[in-house]
């Protein structure tokens, strides 16, 4: 199990009902983590439609998670 902190923005925040959460995950990759969270919170965007940053850097989906990582899921927004 890996202990991480996840932050949400825009529609993820609405769907998750919180700005951030600390959690233990069995996944070591971002794709697995996103699937787990999507199932729990009802996220409907597919991985290809959003971006993820770890510890302040945008990373691609193959990035491996480490204990204490801060993961940020960022959906595209277009309002003006």
């Amino acid at each position: 199990m890996t202990g991480i902190r996840v932050r949400y923005y825009a529609l993820f925040r609405e769907q998750a009902g919180c700005q951030e959460e600390e959690l233990e995950t069995v996944h070591t990759d971002l794709r697995g983590l996103y699937s787990e969270l999507a199932a729990r919170h009802g996220f409907r965007l597919q991985a290809g439609q959003l971006r993820v940053a770890v510890n302040g850097d945008f990373v691609d989906w193959s990035h491996r998670l480490s204990a204490g990582d801060e993961v940020v899921f960022i959906p595209p927004v277009a309002g003006g």
Binding site: A10, G48, P76, V77, G80
Partner: protein, 523 residues
């Protein structure tokens, strides 16, 4: 002859009125301003008026045009004296003709108030005691009248009636050189909505010399809570025009060009070539990619922002620094309709106001070469938590040098099979299209589809199930409320190899036959 003019000779009120006779006019009102014998307790015996005539005629004519439009006048004129005037002389004459008297009275009041407020006119008063002094026009005298006497002590380095930039010039990093740099700069702002209004207001007030405003929309009542350049009187007017007028009133030293058109593939390069920095204040991804791509092709910075409810994102594409751009961050498949938009989500005014001010700040950092510029980063702003964070967003590693620009090649080079159809649902049914309603259940309940055969298949389900379930010789027409989601879904189906999937242009709100409408959310 211009409807506003200056005159060096005495005004003939009968001749002026005679110029305005019109068979449809049922009301004709005039206002006359006279030279009076006292001002602020001092006896005046004579006056000299001076005007910055070129600017005055331009702004004066604009005031008359505004009055004609606002009060639906048949005609309106204004003549202002310049030169030496004696007591009792006619200094300014306003005439307004309309069908009914109320509009003529109101227009006279409007014109004289605006002329007094907006025109660069100065008067020199000669007093009975032999002293004399220049009195600023109302605009610069208000709210604290300043009399600059000839042998007086106050010297104002800024011409009266124009912005004084001393408070920003005082910044060590700006200075006089920085102010000259701003005055020589040109900026193109795409979208004069929630983001565009604060961007334009900040840049105009700061003295950025040339502003290009691109917007194809007109002002709506629902814009006013967050688009502070507009007033209720502007409702129905092109935003680009209304914004131009307001910005010039704020700072008459500028050149402001209004482009009442959408930013499209066909005009993108020409528009971007007009300015050294581009600011994306649009409300949809299609336009954001177009702005980004045109900026890449031109090698110019693009300052892009988006908002969603209480949050915003800010990114600066710097092709001039070989830094990351919008495409490095978001895949091409990022489309309007697949994510929330703020017409559905709602928005509080301070959110775009904040992001727009941040955009203006980034523009000024670029123009003035200030430190801390956003390069290879995405700024996330959360106005509820009052939190900002800068995420590092370097060039996409799949993007070799020049790759972004290659992706940004003009759309005309790409094959573009027709995707959107403009027809009625009844015609679509007759022509054999299978109509698919992509809206959510509650939207369907609120506004049921007209009586045509169709299938209800919400967007996200269609995206997942469509590629394996659609197909064969059938032609499909996807439908949503405004044509955004249906277009995004049709594009996704085309990419999955389904060529006979179309989107209803403009959605149900625009389902009458007619030209396709560009996507809109909440500009």
């Amino acid at each position: 002859m211009s409807r506003f003019r200056f005159s060096e000779v005495a005004l003939d009120r009968d001749a002026l009125a005679a110029e305005m006779t019109h068979p449809a006019a049922g009301g004709f009102a005039t206002f006359e301003g006279w030279v009076r014998n006292r001002n602020e307790g001092r006896s005046v015996r004579q006056l000299d008026y001076q005007a910055f005539e070129e600017l005055g005629i331009r702004e004066g004519s604009r005031i008359i045009e505004e009055a004609i439009a606002r009060f639906r006048l048949i005609d309106a004129r204004c003549v202002h004296r310049v030169g030496a005037l004696a007591l009792g002389d006619l200094a300014v004459w306003v005439g307004a003709a309309s069908e009914h008297r109320a509009e003529a009275f109101a227009a006279c009041r409007y014109i004289i108030d605006e002329v007094k407020h907006r025109l660069p006119i100065w008067k020199k008063e000669h007093y009975e005691d032999g002293d004399s002094g220049w009195v600023n026009c109302e605009r610069c005298a208000n709210p604290d009248p300043v009399h600059v006497h000839e042998h007086g002590r106050r010297v104002d380095p800024t011409p009266a009636g124009f912005p004084d930039y001393s408070r920003q010039v005082a910044l060590r990093e700006v200075g006089e050189a920085g102010q000259r740099r701003l005055a020589a700069a040109s900026v193109l702002v795409v979208g004069a909505g929630g983001l565009g209004c604060p961007v334009l207001a900040c840049l105009a007030a700061a003295g950025v010399g040339v502003l290009h405003v691109v917007d194809g929309d007109t002002v709506e009542a629902s814009n006013l809570h967050r688009q502070h350049l507009y007033t209720p009187a502007d409702i129905g007017r092109p935003k680009a025009e209304a914004a131009r007028e307001r910005l010039l009133a704020m700072n008459p030293m500028l050149r402001v060009e209004a482009h009442w058109q959408r930013f499209e593939e066909t005009n993108a390069d020409a528009l971007v070539s007009l300015a050294e920095v581009v600011v994306d204040c649009s409300d949809n991804f299609r336009t954001k990619f177009l702005v980004n791509d045109a900026a890449l092709r031109a090698g110019r910075p693009a300052v892009l922002a988006s908002i969603h409810q209480y949050e915003g994102q800010l990114q600066v594409a710097r092709p001039d620094l070989d830094a990351s751009c919008l495409r490095c961050l978001w895949p091409e498949a990022t489309r309007d309709g697949l994510v929330g938009n703020c017409a559905e989500a709602g928005v509080l005014g301070p959110v775009p106001a904040t992001l727009g001010a941040l955009q203006a700040m980034e523009v000024m950092k670029i123009l003035l070469d200030l430190p801390g510029q956003l390069v290879d980063q995405l700024l996330l702003v959360d106005l509820l938590g009052q939190e900002t964070r800068r995420l590092r967003a370097p060039r996409n590693r799949d993007c070799g040098p020049g790759q972004c620009v290659r992706l940004a090649k003009p759309g005309s080079e790409r094959a573009r099979p027709q995707l959107e159809l403009s027809l009625s649902l009844q015609d679509a049914e007759r022509q054999g299209y299978v109509i698919i309603d992509l809206r959510e259940a509650q939207e369907v309940t609120a506004e049921p589809l007209p009586a045509v055969a169709h299938r209800h298949w919400p967007l996200q389900e269609l995206l997942m199930e469509g590629p394996s379930q659609l197909g064969g010789d059938t032609r499909y027409l996807l439908v949503c409320s405004r044509g955004l989601r249906s277009r995004a879904a049709a594009e996704a189906m085309r990419e999955a190899g389904l060529n006979e999937v179309y989107s209803l242009a403009g959605g149900l709100s625009g389902a009458e036959p007619g030209p396709a409408r560009a996507p809109r959310t909440c500009s």
